[in-house]
């Protein structure tokens, strides 16, 4: 079972975590929702399109202008409070690796800390424990936050990621995070080249087999672009294909930019595997 905010989810749930960037420079939206009001509009629109979770980020993942703790707090905390006020039941995640930011956003009403840089700041788990919120334990290969992979090698990337995320999840629980609030994320493209990310997608069931709920963050990433040799604005179909493949293997949470499309793919996966009814069956039955 997965508990996020006030909600409980069975292992056959397929949840969308919609990306809401309060950054002037994020790779896909290029700062489109940096402003407070446009970001709030983005939240309203993704909720209407079927996202259960919003993931609010104040720092782009790739290298770029320095964003210190106080600037990251400025970008995220008031916004979290505003979203919490407007959507009392929405699951609010914040994408941060810094425990100082984690503490402030939890006080503002966040339900989940998305530690996309893989335990770089071990204090983040303690903050999640203190506020009884969730924690995403991501494999980033020990990379420094906001760095690009360079000549990274794994003899067995899937085995490495499985063992690392499993250990990190147990470390979070040992730090006091509620066991039902921990997710693992193989960290596509984080400390990995495209071969690694494709292998993790192909063998995602091995992460699912750990028993921890699996979050995947695939959306428009470079491994999709390189697999298809397509630029940033032509990766939606590739992203959705990988989404279906991960969902079929048991991933539960999908961090995404393109919400209506992702919802449709996940609903189709649910219908095919029989975890949700088809909506309207009449063909051949009149």
């Amino acid at each position: 079972m997965l508990r996020l905010g006030h909600s409980n989810f069975n292992s056959d749930a397929l949840l969308i975590m919609a990306i809401v960037n309060r950054t002037p420079d994020s790779f896909y939206d290029r700062g489109a929702t940096y402003g407070f009001e446009v970001a709030l509009e983005r939240v309203r629109s993704v909720v209407a399109a079927g996202a259960e979770i919003v993931d609010i980020g104040g720092v782009k993942a790739a290298p770029g202008d320095e964003v210190d703790v106080s600037e990251e707090i400025r970008r995220t905390v008031d916004f979290v409070a505003r979203v919490r006020a407007e959507f009392p039941e929405l699951i609010i995640s914040v994408d941060t690796w810094r425990h100082e930011v984690g503490r402030e956003v939890c006080q503002a009403g966040a339900d989940l800390l998305n530690d996309a840089w893989g335990g770089h700041d071990p204090e983040l788990a303690s903050v999640a424990a203190e506020f009884d919120v969730g924690l995403v334990c991501t494999h980033a290969g020990g990379a420094e936050p906001r760095t690009r992979p360079h000549r990274i090698h794994y003899d067995d990337v899937v085995g490495t990621v499985v063992e690392w995320t499993r250990a990190e999840a147990e470390r979070a629980v040992a730090a006091g995070v509620n066991r039902d609030r921990v997710l693992i994320d193989p960290g596509h493209d984080f400390g990995k080249n495209t071969w690694h990310s494709l292998a993790l997608t192909r063998q995602l069931s091995q992460l699912v087999a750990t028993g921890w709920p699996v979050l995947v963050s695939l959306s428009n990433k470079d491994f999709v672009g390189e697999a298809l040799d397509l630029p940033l604005d032509e990766r939606v179909l590739g992203t959705l294909s990988a989404t279906a493949i991960c969902a079929w293997q048991g991933a539960m949470v999908f961090r995404a930019h393109n919400i209506p499309e992702t919802r449709q793919v996940l609903d189709m996966v649910a219908a095919v595997r029989g975890s949700a009814s088809p909506r309207r069956v009449v063909r051949g039955l009149a």
Binding site: S277, P278, R279, R280, V281, V282, G284, L285, A286
Partner: protein, 198 residues
């Protein structure tokens, strides 16, 4: 007391997945007709319907749909299914029906499946007039007009209920009936009349 309802598999429990408004509207009409049948407090209901197609467990689809509608209407009395050979000629049907005279009947029978370009049997322009005559006979409460339905034309037009209605004609002949039409439409290209006779 007679209730005539159709037998699309759509009416079976869970068949549509999510809720389909057109099906629920049809189901409501069918349940209303069955409720009228039950209102007299019969000791037993006789369900008549085609022996084919066979459905879950090899039981006739008409039997399953009839049982489902009886359950939906809160029926607590026993029911007995009388299977009708869909190709049986009118005389044989009438004769079989006479043995059922006086019984409360749930008649499970469908009109043409060739009523539109998207109908199961595609469009046949003769379907609408045939169904119009069928509905007129049902609404007139006139067993003789049901007895007159042409079996060859009915087969050409995929009228699955022709033989069943002629059994009903045998069971109801010799008097006129007051009728109540609950539904008469073809949301999926098959004609579904829902009519009560009293």
């Amino acid at each position: 007391m007679i209730a005539s309802v159709p037998s699309p598999p759509l009416l079976l429990p869970g068949a549509t997945g999510g809720r389909v408004a057109e099906v629920e509207q049809l189901r409501d009409a069918c349940v209303a007709a069955v409720a009228e049948l039950l209102a007299d407090g019969p000791a037993e209901i006789t369900v008549i319907g085609a022996v084919r197609p066979a459905w879950t467990g090899g039981r006739p689809l008409a039997e399953l749909v009839g049982a489902g509608l009886l359950a939906d209407a809160g029926c607590t009395v026993a029911s007995q299914f009388v299977a009708v050979e869909p190709e049986a000629g009118p005389q044989r049907c009438l004769q079989a029906g006479r043995a059922l005279a006086g019984r409360p009947l749930l008649v499970v029978a469908d009109g043409s499946a060739r009523r539109g370009l998207k109908a199961p049997g595609y469009l046949d322009e003769r379907a609408a007039p045939f169904d119009a005559e069928l509905l007129a006979a049902l609404q007139a409460g006139d067993p003789a007009r049901l007895a007159d339905l042409d079996p060859d034309r009915a087969a050409q037009l995929m009228v699955a209920g022709r033989a069943v209605w002629q059994v009903m004609a045998g069971a109801t002949e010799g008097r006129s009936w007051q009728t109540h039409t609950h539904y008469a439409d073809d949301p999926f290209g098959v004609f579904y009349p829902v009519v009560s006779w009293r």
